[in-house]
Amino acid sequence: MAEVSAATDVPLAVDLEPVQLVAPDGAPTSEDRYTRDLPPETLSWLYELMVVTRDLDGEFINLQRQGELALFASCRGQEAAQIGAAACLRKTDWLFPQYREIGAFLLRGITPAQMGAVWRGKWHGGIGFTERCCAPIAIPIGTHGLHAVGAAMGAQRLGEDSVTLAFLGDGATSEGDAHEALNFAAVFKAPCVFFIQNNQWAISVPISHQMAAPSIAHRAIGYGMPGIRVDGNDVLACYAVVAEAAKRAREGGGPTLIEAITYRMGPHTTSDDPTRYRTQSEVDHWLALDPIARYRTYLQDAGVWTERLEERVEAKSKRLRSELRESVVGADDFDVAEMFDTVYHDITPELERQREELLTELAKET
């Protein structure tokens, strides 16, 4: 039993061995602190989300290569982590994503068209995401962790038992704002779960260059919150540890720092060339730990996977891919006046003047 801080009642140790409920070969592990017993429809739903996310991810890459999208950041390899983390929450729990959380977006009902608009360069951030209790994407690294903490502190003041989930990456943990977010959350016992997808690489810089700590989760000790390492390629393990952290947060037990160990199978973005900084043997190693293949085997052995499920998943995947393609290919741009009109709730006279200036300039050109 780990030593516990008298001041914060939080363990003063972090288990380096990640929580794993399903082994890479698909067999259940001996882990008994968490349950893998979810209803069959939940198990199928998680599978569907993971497969559809991967397929949609592939379609995004195709569309970028065809010149329809400005850029794309693939989440290939990280499906289990982000879907497991978001799936165990309520629809009224807030998500604060970075930009690679396609699986979490899909889970919340954010449409391929909404995501496509961002990567096409139609609009920044994300339109209508907040209707789904999901913040827009955050391109600056680590800064949105504080927004998650503020939202969680808001939930405390509203008397809600909601939870806020902040998605950060391994690189983000080097940012000062990540430190401030973790510290504020701990000090105010904010109902916030920090879910760090440690995908091993921040563009070209490996985790060994980001920190000298034993693990990202170990940093939790210094903040006075529980730190947990989880196999990020095991969807059930991610679901279980986030569910436990969310329960603690709802009950007033404060934040948790979770490090999900996973791998970015693709490049950082479509503009990146990972062959310049990592070896094929490393990629092959992680390919063998693939989250979807493992989970499919597990579901087959558990008797949950059926041909009918696979057909349903394929049909959904096809539908969402064509939804994405139709929403993106040749899509109209927004009215240029909107870039002025959306800056302020009450536009300033100077900005009105500049809007008219541009509109006059455009009228002359045509």
Binding site: W94, F96, W123, H124, G125, G126, I127, G128, F129, T130, E131, A135, P136, A138, P140, T143, H144, G145, L146, H147, A148, V149, G150, A151, A152, M153, G154, A155, Q156, R157, L158, G159, T164, G176, D177, E180, A181, N183, F184, V187, F334, E338, M339, D341, T342, V343, Y344, H345, D346, T348, P349, E350, L351
Partner: protein, 350 residues
């Protein structure tokens, strides 16, 4: 014991009509007290309003501007934060997303720098980048400017940074009455407002009518009517300009003093009306000259009023050095002499 307050209106709801507490008298207040009164009245009028920052609750702020708020409204609505300015602004953004109206304090101008990323990358852009889905009704109070004999990083003029950032509004009161009303208006505004408090004028007294309807943000005030030279300034330097105007009388120069009050939105009509009349303009601010707000005003005046001008638009400002040590600040800050030198150059053409 968690103090539970009613669920606030969410972004997208219509903002409530400003409700201003009736006070059956016109009290004489210092600017610091007027700001305190405005915070108190804003918190009483709208329970979504939250005040937080370093030392604002138990201590009541290092200038006592937030005194009594924690006692009156409880620790859920006025609270001390860890010492981290980026964190202070960052959580304000998250709270605004959940429908609150945060009024964080950055303790001193120089310490806005650690919060710069949150303000510039997120607070200012949030509404535009969600295509208007999410308002950021955040008012950041920053005790600002120099002239109080302080140590480093306690006397900075930060307005140019905020004015160069699309999405922010920037105001700087010069009197207790304006301090009250600008803050009330800033807090009800659904846009982020940077509220720069001139520390040097915290202890100036004035009768503050908290019942008078407050003007919206974006109206300048003509503080003194004159015929020869328009002096455009704001914040701490309005009083300096008014005293310089007395001295100018002795030379036979009549100065018109414009107090901008709001830098963005800018009431350029009031500036233009004055310059058309006088034909001469001097802009005065504390911050360094290069790309200070004087540069923008001078450019705008010559763009729009070139043929009304009798003389170049001049700038009486601080210098392009770091803010100097306290023993030297009186020499560095623009005072009546520097302003009158500019007035003379405008009046007496070579």
């Amino acid at each position: 014991m968690t103090q539970i307050i009613e669920r606030p209106a969410m972004n997208g709801d219509e903002a409530p009509e400003p409700y201003f507490t009736a006070v059956p008298m016109v009290p004489t207040l210092t600017m610091a007290q007027a700001i305190n009164r405005a915070l108190h009245d804003a918190m009483a009028a709208d329970e979504r309003v939250l005040v937080f920052g370093e030392d604002v609750a138990t201590l009541g702020g290092v200038f006592r501007v937030t005194e009594g708020l924690a006692e009156t409204f409880g620790e859920q609505r006025c609270f001390d934060t860890p010492l981290a300015e980026s964190g202070i602004v960052g959580i304000a953004i998250g709270m605004a997303i959940r429908g609150f109206v945060p009024v964080p304090e950055i303790q001193f101008d120089g310490f806005a720098a650690p919060a710069f990323d949150q303000i510039v990358s997120h607070l200012a852009k949030y509404r535009m980048r969600t295509r208007g889905d999410v308002d950021m009704p955040v008012t950041i109070r920053i005790p600002s400017f120099g002239g109080i004999g302080a140590v480093e990083h306690h006397s900075e003029s930060t307005e140019s940074y905020w004015l160069h950032t699309a999405g922010l509004k920037v105001v700087a009161p010069s009197t207790p009455s304006d301090a009250y009303w600008l803050l009330r208006q800033a807090i009800v505004s659904r846009d982020p407002v940077i509220y720069l408090e001139p520390k040097r004028r915290y202890w100036v007294r004035e009768a503050v009518d908290t019942n008078a309807p407050g003007l919206p943000i974006g109206r300048a005030a003509v503080r003194r009517i004159g015929a020869d030279v328009t002096v455009v300034t704001y914040g701490s330097l309005v009083a300096t300009a008014l005293s310089a105007a007395e001295l100018a009388e002795q030379h036979g120069w009549s100065l018109e003093i414009i107090d901008l009050r709001s830098l963005n939105p800018l009431d350029f009509d009031t500036v233009a009306d004055s310059v058309r009349k006088t034909g001469r303009a001097v802009v005065m601010h504390e911050g360094p000259r290069t790309l200070g707000f004087g540069a923008e005003l001078a450019a705008r005046i010559q763009e729009e009023l070139f043929y009304d001008l009798e003389a170049p638009v001049l700038r009486a400002t601080g210098f392009d050095t770091p803010y100097p040590p306290a023993r030297l600040e009186k020499l560095w800050l623009p005072g009546p002499d520097r302003l009158l030198d500019c007035v003379e150059r405008a009046m007496v053409q070579p």
